[in-house]
Symmetry: C2
Subunit: 181 residues, 2 copies
């Protein structure tokens, strides 16, 4: 692939993720326009709108998968893995703000990958519980949901907080809550 083509491709994907996050019904014209290319150029690389969406999803899933791998959720100490995961996933969520859970419904392959990654996190939370890092009286499912939402909140409602500090705050809130001792 030619260098300019690669640039345009990346621009379309990133712009697409951004606009689709704001409005999932954003038209391909709008994405093309915002990305600085012609509508037909987008159509040349992505035959259908669905194909473009799939590509955006795959890009996000690729980034997320790298984070999951590097966090070493299975081997590393729970506290370490948790922090590494959060610190890594926040920039991914910011770069690809598109809501995967909702939009991947009609893309079976992407949804399957998403579920696989989700299962890895479930397993990690289960391990954290088994090793006594979580309160025994709350379900891992709830812990998992809370972790997801804390990450999302921090990623998108506090975009100015740098990943390391963001991870500190998320992990601290996750484990200790916000009430005064």
């Amino acid at each position: 692939m030619r260098a300019d083509a690669a640039r345009n491709l990346a621009a379309v994907l990133r712009t697409g993720a951004r606009l689709l996050a704001e409005d999932p019904s954003t038209s391909m014209s709008a994405i093309a326009n915002e990305a600085g290319v012609d509508r037909t150029t987008v159509h040349r690389r992505f035959a259908t709108r669905e194909a473009l969406l799939s590509a955006v999803f795959q890009a996000k899933l690729d980034s997320a998968e790298r984070v999951l791998d590097e966090a070493r959720l299975v081997e590393a100490p729970v506290a370490v893995a948790l922090h590494r995961y959060v610190e890594g996933i926040i920039p991914v969520s910011r770069e690809w703000p598109v809501d995967t859970r909702r939009m991947m419904q009609k893309d079976p392959e992407a949804d399957r990958r998403r579920q696989e990654q989700s299962a890895r996190l479930d397993a990690f939370v289960q391990r954290a519980a088994d090793e006594g890092h979580l309160r025994p009286d709350v379900s891992p499912a709830w812990a998992r949901a809370v972790l997801d939402q804390l990450v999302d909140s921090m990623a998108h409602r506090f975009p100015e907080v740098a990943p390391p500090q963001a991870a500190d705050l998320v992990v601290d809130t996750f484990l200790n809550g916000l009430g005064a001792t």
Copy 2:
């Protein structure tokens, strides 16, 4: 208004909220169809699609406002008000699952009301902090965001948990986190 008309109106609003929550670009045809009325019937009461959306928003805002009033966020003890608010707002969020923050962008009046309600909650969180119920080292803005997300998670990812228990879990998680002591 005739009784059957009122029934249909309510059905359209609730169905609209539900379908629009799943897919914000749901067509009026789809909403009408799912609500069991003809498309033109919806058009008779709501001239434009925007008008229908506004009506859904207003319905949700009305319910939420009632909860805010009854929680007595200003006068009641913080712990009491917090629990009452959460227990009340969860059913509202379940009945009107439409995402207000995102979809009200283009409805100035609804967005204004939403911001007013948001400000009331901000003030409450600020009071909780002032009265020493929250850790002094975290910003009220973060506490507010976390509270919102905990409520949303519980409302939609755990729809089978009854409001009282749901509120217990949300408040407990909010104040104490999920880490083992």
